[in-house]
Structures are given as structure tokens and as C-alpha cells.
């Protein structure tokens, strides 16, 4: 069997298949369907310092080959996470990564400091790309200086692996990637959702309560693939690719484009078993192509 291990900063993953934040709950929601411990890592729901109710319903619109969401980081806050969720998920053998959000740099740092006390969180994913919150979120991810400032501040507070999740809603994603690399990010993950909207022609109203939302699913895959390819050519740190991955072939395309690992997101909503099926599919591909290690695929695009 081929070697599936990959390295993201200090973190060695048993395989390159992760689940994307906000699409996999805390893993526990999927326990009836799959063995969570087979995954490379799970990235749990976006967490904030204080509890958040998120945006009003309706928060979701189905679109051609995808969906828009405007959940708005609903979560019970980091104190609840530490007390009620962490004890259970720290038992997982797979790596548990927390997606960290804030409306100010101080909030990002305060939250990160609280996570420092948790031994079984080997990495955080700094979310500077949520399109569905009024304050912070994507505001940090669309300007090089703001992205650099928040990365620098969090870097000082966190000495384990730091992943920064990037927004595609920018003029040049490579410039943002280089800015966070320069401030000590160990890896970048991309893409977060593309901002979009949906209108009901009969009622003449927006479908989402927030008017705009974030587009995900296979509709965004070509954009994500292009950005992963560009960023992996522009930075030296590992790139984690996501955006519309529905099957093993999609995942392999991201690896070929330069991703060291991939995240399965919206596909989890269609089939709760899909993450491990993608893992099995990658293994089969390596066997079929007589490759000894998944690392041979990374950036292996032939042009």
C-alpha cells in the first residue's frame, strides 16, 4: 500500500484528506456513517470568543451545481467548546484542527490563547475569509496588510501549526498568500466560499436573509483549482486545496495543481461517507498508477 502521509508545518497527517470547517460539525455528527479516525484531519466548525447566533433563516439557497450559505458563524463560543465538545473530540486519533474567527485582532488572539491550553489541538486554521459576518472575517482576508497584521499577532500567540484560510474574493490571492507566509503562516488553505447571491423572481426578493452569501460546491471547483495552482507556485509553504471536491478524481486534481492536502466540504452534505470514500479512491489511484507515495502527486501537473 502506498504511503499517504503528508506534512503541514509541524503536523504530520496520516493522509491528505481533511474535512472543511462548517461542513462536518465536530465530527460526532458523522460517527454513524464513517470511522472518523481514518481521516487525515478534521477541521471543526468556526469558533469565536463569544457565542454567536448567526444570521436569520433563510441561510441557504440551492444553486446550479452548488449552494449558497449565510450561516454567519453560529457557534456556542470557545468556553462551551472547551468544556463540552473538546473532551469528546480530543479522544479522536485523527488530528483535530480548530477554525479560529474574530471581529478584531484582539479577539483572534484571545481565542488562540484559550486554545493553547488544549493539548490535542495540533493546529489552528485562521479564518480571515468568512463572507457572512459584518465585522472582521473576510475584511482581514481581502487586504494584504490586514491579513499580515492578524497573522503576525496570532503567530506570536500560537507555536503549533498555523494554517491561514484565504478568501477567493480578492484581486490577487497570491499577494495575500505571500503576505501571510511572510508573517509565519505554516500553510494556507484555499478557497473559502465565493460571494454570490440568489433572487426569487416570483417574490422579487433575495433568497437569503442577508441578500449575499458564500457559494460552494462543484460550481466553484475550476476557480479553486486555478487559485491553488497559482498560490502553490507563489509560496514555499504547503497549500491545502478545497472548493467543490466531490470525489477522488477531484481531490487528485488539487494535489496535481500543487496542494499538499485537500479538504472535503459541501460534499459531506450530499453523502456523509464521502470523505473516507475519497480517501479510498486516492489509495486506489496510487496503486493503479504504481506510485509509492502520495507526495509524488503533489504539484505533478504536466504542462
Amino acid at each position: 500500500m502506498a504511503d499517504l502521509k503528508v506534512r503541514i508545518g509541524e503536523l504530520e497527517l496520516q493522509n491528505p484528506v481533511m474535512t472543511a470547517s462548517g461542513t462536518f460539525g465536530y465530527g460526532t455528527e458523522f460517527e454513524d456513517f464513517i470511522d472518523i479516525n481514518r481521516l487525515g484531519a478534521i477541521i471543526v466548525k468556526g469558533t469565536t470568543l463569544e457565542p454567536r447566533q448567526g444570521n436569520p433563516y433563510p441561510r441557504m439557497a440551492e444553486t446550479p451545481s452548488g449552494m449558497l450559505n449565510a450561516v454567519g458563524l453560529q457557534n456556542k463560543g470557545v468556553a462551551y467548546f472547551i468544556e463540552h465538545i473538546y473532551p469528546a473530540i480530543s479522544q479522536y486519533k485523527t488530528s483535530v484542527i480548530v477554525n479560529v474567527n474574530g471581529s478584531t485582532i484582539e479577539e483572534y488572539v484571545a481565542l488562540t490563547e484559550k486554545l493553547n491550553d488544549l493539548d490535542h489541538i495540533p493546529a489552528i486554521e485562521l479564518n480571515i475569509s468568512c463572507p457572512n459576518v459584518k465585522m472582521g472575517g473576510m475584511a482581514f482576508g481581502t487586504q494584504c496588510k490586514a491579513a499580515a497584521d492578524v497573522t503576525r499577532a496570532v503567530r506570536k500567540a500560537w507555536n503549533r501549526t498555523l494554517i491561514v484560510k484565504l478568501s477567493p474574493n480578492v484581486t490577487s490571492i497570491t499577494d495575500i498568500a505571500k503576505s501571510v507566509e511572510a508573517e509565519g503562516a505554516d500553510a494556507v488553505s484555499l478557497i473559502n466560499t465565493l460571494m454570490g447571491m440568489a433572487i426569487d423572481s416570483e417574490t422579487r426578493r433575495p433568497v437569503l436573509s442577508t441578500v449575499t452569501g458564500g457559494l460552494s460546491g462543484p460550481a466553484v471547483k475550476p476557480v479553486a483549482l486555478r487559485m491553488v495552482w497559482q498560490v502553490s507556485n507563489a509560496v514555499k509553504i504547503p497549500v491545502i486545496g478545497l472548493g467543490g471536491i466531490m470525489n477522488a478524481a477531484d481531490a487528485i486534481e488539487f494535489l496535481l495543481a500543487g496542494a499538499t492536502a485537500i479538504q472535503v466540504g459541501t460534499a459531506n452534505f450530499i453523502d456523509p461517507r464521502i470523505s473516507v470514500q475519497i480517501l479510498d479512491g486516492i489509495s486506489d489511484y496510487l496503486t493503479r498508477h504504481k506510485l509509492a507515495s502520495v507526495k509524488e502527486l503533489i504539484g505533478g501537473l504536466k504542462i
Binding site: F33, Y57, E62, S65, P272
Partner: protein, 256 residues
């Protein structure tokens, strides 16, 4: 325990132009299912349909290892499902949600507006098995939209209203004369359009009868991961798919 299975469509029953029933058989065996729980159905062969479709579990027959989905054609997804026939397979994630909490005693009123009767048949069967006295109030636009009245009659009295008066009392289900003696009931279970359920909730409150409603918010995952299907409750925003679909009306922040 939640499962994902390929069910085989063993029977398709056309009820009228826009309603049909898919009876599906499980080869792997059915898990435990409570009345009011729902399923997420994969709609294949239509690129306009991306997400699964949540459908209530209409009835279950553990002897035959079969369950039924009651479907109203409302959009692209349900239209695609209407093209399926016996022998086709249906990929289904189920059973999902909390279902109706069955009382140990008392008199029960079931209120189903239109295809809102979908989750009530299995509930009526279970209540009847427990020896609970029940009355079912069914409302529809017209006689042709009244379906399965005789099935509910197996389990107790059935009252009917139609908007056009072609069957039962004329007028909205919420204006039926049965409401004058609603305080005879200990518990009301209701499913239907949200505007109707809000009026039923108000009536139940007025008559001081415990009342549960089954919501059908649009959803993606059905298992509490995406947080898209939330409703506002006294505890904050909660997923209809995991904390519901059945809620006590006192838990909801409805203006009634």
C-alpha cells in the same frame, strides 16, 4: 442509529396529479424509526438538483421491511422523484430528527393541512397501537386533494374541511367546528403550511392544550452539520433537522 442505504422502490402509488407515494424496501434491514422522523433522499440524473430532499417518513412496515414517502411535486427535485418507478433504487439517509414524543395516556388530536398529513399516518398507527384515543382533522383545498382519509379512519374519528366545501366543512382547517371542543384534547400534533400551523398553535394556546408542530425548513445536510435549517427557539437558533423537526410550540419564538 442513522444509516445510509440504497432502498428498492417496491411500489409507486399515484394519488392525484401532484401527489404520489413511494414504497421502498430495505435489503439491509430497517433501523428503529419513530413517527415524525424524516429522511434525506438523493435525487439523481438531474443537474438542477444538487442537494438531497428531506421527506417525512409517511408509514413504516417492519414486517415487510418497507417504508413509505408521501411526495408532493413542488419543484425540480420532487418532479424528478415522480419519474421513478418500481424497481428503481433510492439512496436514502435516515431516520433523521427527533420525531413526535408519544404520550402514555390521554386524548390526541392530529391536524394535517394538505400534504402535512405525511408524517401523521405512522404517528396515528403508533398511537393506536398504544391504545391512545385519537381524532384526525384533515384539511385540503378540494375533495380531490383529500388523500388517505380511509387510512386515518382505521385509527380513530376523522374530521374534514375543504376550502371549497366539496368535502367536509367548508373553509380553512383552522375554522373547523371541531375547534369549539378542542379543550377536550390533551395533546395536539400538527403538520402543514407554516401559516396554518401558527393559527393552530394560537388555537391550542387559547384552549390551553399542549401542542407540537413539525417544521419543514429548507436544509442541506439533515444531520446538524451545516446549520442552514435553523429556527428561532427560546434557546436560540436551533437546527430543525436535529432538534426538530417536531417542536413544542412553547419552544418556538412564534408571534402567536
Amino acid at each position: 442509529m442513522k444509516v445510509i442505504q440504497d432502498l428498492k422502490i417496491s411500489k409507486k402509488i399515484s394519488l392525484n396529479k401532484e401527489h404520489f407515494i413511494l414504497e421502498c424496501t430495505s435489503v439491509e434491514g430497517l433501523p428503529e424509526i419513530a413517527p415524525g422522523q424524516f429522511a434525506e433522499i438523493l435525487v439523481e440524473h438531474n443537474n438542477k438538483v444538487f442537494l438531497r430532499r428531506p421527506l417525512s417518513i409517511h408509514d413504516v412496515n417492519f414486517e415487510k421491511q418497507s417504508l413509505q414517502f408521501f411526495v408532493k411535486i413542488v419543484g425540480e427535485g420532487t418532479r424528478e422523484l415522480s419519474l421513478l418507478h418500481e424497481g428503481n433504487t433510492l439512496n436514502v439517509v435516515f431516520p433523521l430528527g427527533n420525531g413526535f414524543r408519544l404520550p402514555d395516556a390521554g386524548k390526541v388530536l392530529l391536524v394535517g393541512g394538505g400534504c402535512g398529513s405525511a408524517p401523521l399516518l405512522f404517528l396515528a398507527r403508533k398511537l393506536h397501537e398504544k391504545g391512545i384515543a385519537l381524532t384526525t382533522l384533515l384539511g385540503a383545498r378540494s375533495e380531490t386533494d383529500l388523500m388517505e382519509t380511509e387510512l386515518f379512519e382505521q385509527f380513530g374519528a376523522v374530521c374534514i374541511s375543504t376550502d371549497d366545501g366539496t368535502a367536509g366543512e367548508k373553509g380553512f382547517i383552522t375554522r373547523h367546528s371541531l375547534w369549539n371542543r378542542a379543550n377536550e384534547f390533551d395533546i395536539i400534533y400538527c403538520c402543514g403550511p407554516e401559516v396554518m400551523m401558527k393559527v393552530v398553535a394560537a388555537l391550542a394556546k387559547e384552549k390551553n392544550v399542549e401542542c407540537y408542530v413539525s417544521l419543514e425548513n429548507t436544509m442541506a445536510c439533515g444531520i446538524g452539520a451545516c446549520l442552514c435549517c435553523v429556527t428561532e427557539t427560546v434557546r436560540g437558533n436551533e437546527c430543525v433537522c436535529t432538534q426538530g423537526p417536531v417542536f413544542n410550540i412553547n419552544e418556538l419564538k412564534w408571534q402567536i
